[in-house]
């Protein structure tokens, strides 16, 4: 009995030794990093170009994906009333919606084959849950959501924006720039590089990027959310005084 246990352990060890080099190889052949490593949203923030670089197994193509936390969305659905007027006809509640989804590739999706499909924007259809007002007309909600998010530049699916570097041994480098929109919400975002070779995923490498308010926007946001009454009164008082000041400036000008 003991002998058979030893044999099983020996086999397991051999298997692990066979697998382990592959795992370590994956670590050695792939990686990802961003510049900057965090997104600082100060008064001058107007979106940035996030530089992403890394390495993948030689000969791989790369799909780059930046995604944010999921949230629930309550939206209004527009439809035709009386066959004539377009107006709000109901509400739609969407759950599990990533607030950001930016995708880019080293090669057109059509050339990457079916293995790339789960990484496309359209694959979100399988993730997002929809609760539609039953009275409203049935429309392609995910399609309309994609249009809405693309309009805000929070969703984007680009191709050929990832540049592959020369092969060095068993690895090749890649680099890309992701256009981070100004409408990005503070929070943590995951940047993932998916390496695809010969119709299969051969590696996934991820890093996180934190977007955070700094300086005046941080102070103002804190005041608005944590001391909202004071913020509201301050906003009103400053507006009144600014209006009075401008009025007085005009009075003195008018006096001459």
């Amino acid at each position: 009995m003991k002998t058979s246990n030893h044999i099983q352990f020996a086999w397991l060890s051999v298997l692990l030794l066979m697998v382990f080099p592959c795992l370590s190889l994956a670590d050695e052949t792939g990686g990802i990093s961003t510049t900057p490593t965090s997104i600082e949203m100060g008064a001058q923030y107007d979106g940035i170009n996030l530089k992403v670089k890394g390495t993948v197994p030689a000969g791989s193509d790369v799909i780059l994906h930046l995604t944010g936390a999921v949230r629930d969305l309550h939206l209004r659905q527009k439809g035709k009333v009386g066959g004539l007027l377009w107006m709000n006809v109901g509400t739609v509640t969407l759950t599990n919606v990533p607030n950001v989804s930016l995708i880019d590739t080293s090669r057109p999706f059509s050339e990457l084959g079916g293995v790339a499909s789960p990484f496309r924007l359209e694959s979100l259809r399988n993730v997002i849950k929809i609760e539609q007002d039953t009275k409203a007309e049935q429309i392609d909600i995910p399609h309309e959501l994609f249009l809405l998010k693309k309009h805000e530049r929070l969703y984007n699916e680009a191709e050929k924006g990832v540049h592959l570097g020369p092969v060095e041994g068993s690895i090749s480098s890649f680099s890309a720039e992701l256009a981070i929109p100004s409408a990005l919400a503070p929070g943590e975002y995951q940047v993932e590089a998916i390496a695809i070779k010969d119709g299969a995923v051969v590696g996934k490498y991820a890093t996180t990027v934190r977007a955070e308010l700094i300086g005046f926007p941080k102070w103002l946001s804190k005041l608005a959310f944590e001391k909202s009454l004071l913020y509201g009164i301050l906003a009103t008082v400053i507006a009144v005084f600014a209006g009075l000041a401008i009025g007085l400036v005009f009075q003195s000008k008018g006096a001459h």
Partner: protein, 312 residues
């Protein structure tokens, strides 16, 4: 050296071009100064078009109207165009009407037809008010250019005029040069408040014609008094929105305010140069343009069939 004109707004969660916002404030302020309307029905949709979330656009607009109407009220006060007594009575009515209007909206939403009714009310109100003002002013301008004078005393007293004359609590409104029942501005203020709450706007563009045609106030006093009343309405909205929904972007409001306060001052002076009938016809044209834009939006299929909650 490149100087960026973009500024990040943490409450709106987006960055804006300072010059564009300043210019937008200036144009709307100009209209506000000339006509005594808050301009929310123009500003909010334009802010949404610039990428500001609808709820933040509407609340921040209220915040900037506080400043713009302070500046405008001051300018009109110096010109002797603010009837404070009338303004307060309209305001009390407006607040009561607004409270009733919010409840009506709740009931309509439960019945499921709220948005349809709001849209139709909006277009019909704008069309009626704008059309009536336009035609009436056109007739008055034609008459004055033809030099025809009709003595008001020769006209038969209308039922409305008789009703107004016989109402209790007759009060002198010296600034407006009229004597009417104090109940009139209270009742009319309430009705405008109800409509404004249903339509989700400040109500300046309804209040101005009401003051002109139903309270028979002179046009220049109407403008000053309307701005005075709007000031208090918007103070209330700003504090409420800041505390309950956290949707007031003060920086956005201040940028808009700088433009609009300047615009209001210019508008008040420009309005003084224009005759009462000219002012009415210009306001009527503005109201009709907004009505046609709304009608267009109702008739043409939108590019995206989903929209965020809030806004108009």
């Amino acid at each position: 050296m490149s100087l960026t004109m973009n500024l990040y707004l943490p409450i709106a969660g987006n960055s804006v071009n300072c010059l564009a916002i300043f210019g937008l404030g200036g144009i709307v302020g100009l209209l506000s100064g000339i006509f005594g309307v808050g301009g929310g029905f123009l500003m909010t949709p334009l802010l949404i078009m610039m990428g500001i979330p609808p709820t933040v656009a509407a609340s921040s607009d209220s915040n900037q109207i506080v400043g713009a109407s302070t500046s405008g009220t001051l300018a009109h006060f110096r010109l002797g165009n603010v009837d404070i007594k009338m303004g307060f009575l309209l305001l009390i009515g407006g607040i009561a009407g607004g409270t009733v209007g919010v409840q009506i909206i709740k009931i309509l939403r439960q019945l499921g037809n709220a948005d349809f009714l709001i849209s139709i009310t909006y277009v019909l109100m704008l069309g009626f008010v704008g059309g009536y003002m336009f035609l009436e002013s056109l007739q008055a301008m034609r008459k004055s250019s033809q030099g025809r004078h009709t003595a008001p005393s020769s006209k038969k007293e209308s039922v409305y005029a008789r009703m107004v004359r016989t109402m209790p609590f007759q009060t002198d409104f010296k600034r407006s040069g009229i004597r009417i029942s104090a109940l009139m501005p209270l009742v009319l203020g309430t009705l405008v408040g109800i409509l404004a709450a249903i339509m989700g706007v400040g109500g300046g563009f309804i209040m101005v014609p009401v003051m002109v045609y139903m309270l028979r106030m002179p046009m220049h006093v109407v403008v000053g008094t309307s701005l005075f009343q709007i000031l208090f309405t918007c103070i209330n909205v700003t504090v409420m929105q800041a505390t309950q929904n956290h949707t007031v972007d003060f920086v956005l409001a201040l940028l808009l305010l700088l433009g609009s306060a300047l615009g209001t001052q210019v508008g008040a002076k420009l309005g003084k140069k224009l005759g009462g009938e000219q002012l009415k016809i210009l306001l009527a044209s503005l109201v009709l343009i907004v009505m046609f834009k709304m009608l267009f939006d109702l008739l043409v299929q939108p590019d995206i069939l989903l929209a965020y909650m809030g806004g108009h």
